[in-house]
Amino acid sequence: MSPYVPVAIFLGVAVAAATAFVLVPGLVARRKPNATKSEAYECGVEPTSDVGGRFPVRFYLIAMLFVIFDVEAASFYPWAVQMRALRVYGLLEMAAFVVVLGIGYAYVWRKGGFQWR
């Protein structure tokens, strides 16, 4: 049996347990909704404006940087596992990769991409 079959079974059990937990409140909890209760919480004050306002663009920038750098981080993994076989050749290859990555990183730093104002 492939080792992934038990993992799949475990995930099935975890999903079933989580589903049970999500469904339980609907079965046992009392429900007495009223307009005040179902209002969005703003410390007791009636919501003053809608949620969909403007948003700092920094968050999108972080998300983009994450996608770029994380894809590159993923490529370290197969290399790391084979490092003992690759020896100096692998080291030089990865050094070249890290230099390229470092140039991008330095560019983002210089442009203030990591600066949170």
Binding site: S38, Y41, V98
Partner: protein, 334 residues
């Protein structure tokens, strides 16, 4: 114990099902008592008695909390997107539980004490914990309320930033072990625990692990003073409880991973093989959970800009440098 269940008469999938149920039960019970443990330790550090009313020494407190949460009214704000609002805690909890599928707890002559000993162990854990971020970001977004939205956007940015440093921090271990399987990594530590040669990686991992699980001092997600409860402000009753369980399960999971990667898993220190491996594993795991609590009581919360700058400008380069130095040492020496 787990291996002893493998009787020939029962089909294998039934055995796995029973093991899965058992592991989940143990993990959820551990969560319940980790919570009590945390409240007790925090209380003692702050010279208070802590929970001591329900049962002797407060030992029934988790059960009381669970019962209370279950019977609390489950509110959905009228501004919320009802389906995603109810679905988000499910994502958090299912992924937090799923991590334990690949974690080996000990090893005896009967075999490995894990559900599935997969080669991609560490990758599997990182993949599942990344999906867990969706639970938090969708919860805040679907609440249709300002504080949760801000909390969830902050949390998403924080978690993805620190996830990057986290994935980089463990690569040094993979270079030394030459495998991504947890069992292989633990076997490679039979002589020396990787915390010694990978001390820098270990420090980066521990810091990012605290940030990944949104615990103090990186708990800006639920910074009470400014964002009420953060992404789970609108949640009540058991649905709030699910996020709570997920947070603690994540905490236990990263403590398990730290034990496996850096502290030799079930390998006993100083050749103390009389004490079984599972005891060592649990002791090390408990030690990391204690560190979490200790950090929470000791350190004040970081400011958000400093948090992001620390992740990108310090942890990421340090982790990259660490892995390149490790690679150089392996290439020329090992």
């Amino acid at each position: 114990m787990l291996a002893a269940l493998s009787l020939d008469v029962v089909p294998l999938w039934v055995v796995v099902l029973a093991k899965s149920g058992f592991v989940l039960f143990v993990v959820v019970t551990t969560f319940a008592y980790a919570m009590l443990f945390e409240r007790k330790i925090m209380a003692w550090m702050q010279l208070r008695p802590g929970p001591n009313r329900v049962g002797p020494w407060g030992l029934m407190q988790p059960a009381a909390d669970a019962a209370k949460m279950m019977f609390k009214e489950d509110l959905t704000p009228s501004t919320a997107d009802p389906f995603i609002y109810r679905f988000a805690p499910w994502i958090s909890l299912a992924t937090a539980m799923g991590v334990f599928a690949v974690i080996p707890f000990s090893e005896t002559s009967g075999g490995l004490w894990s559900i599935g000993n997969v080669n991609s162990g560490i990758l599997f854990v990182f993949a599942l914990t990344s999906i867990g971020v969706y639970g938090i970001s969708l919860a805040g977004w679907s609440s249709g309320s300002k504080y949760p939205l801000l909390g969830s956007v902050r949390s998403t940015a924080q978690m993805i930033s620190y996830e990057l440093a986290m994935t980089m921090s463990v690569i040094g271990v993979l270079i030394l072990a030459g495998t991504t399987s947890f069992a292989g990594i633990v076997h490679a530590q039979a002589k020396w625990w990787f915390v010694l040669p990978q001390f820098v990686g270990f420090i980066v991992y521990i810091i990012t692990a605290v940030a990944e699980t949104n615990r103090a001092p990186f708990d800006l997600v639920e910074a009470e003073t400014e964002l009420v409860g953060g992404f789970h402000t609108e949640y009540s009753g058991l649905r709030f409880g699910l996020f709570f369980i997920a947070e603690y399960l994540n905490m236990i999971a990263v403590a398990c991973v730290a034990t496996l990667l850096f502290f030799g898993g079930w390998n006993p220190p100083f050749g103390l093989t009389v004490i079984p491996g599972i005891v060592w594993f649990l002791l090390k795991d408990g030690f990391f959970i204690f560190i979490y609590i200790w950090l929470r009581t000791t350190l004040p919360r970081l400011r958000y800009d400093r948090l992001m700058a620390f992740g990108w400008k310090v942890l990421l380069p340090v982790a990259t440098l660490n892995l390149m130095v490790t690679a150089a040492i392996v290439a020329f020496g090992g």
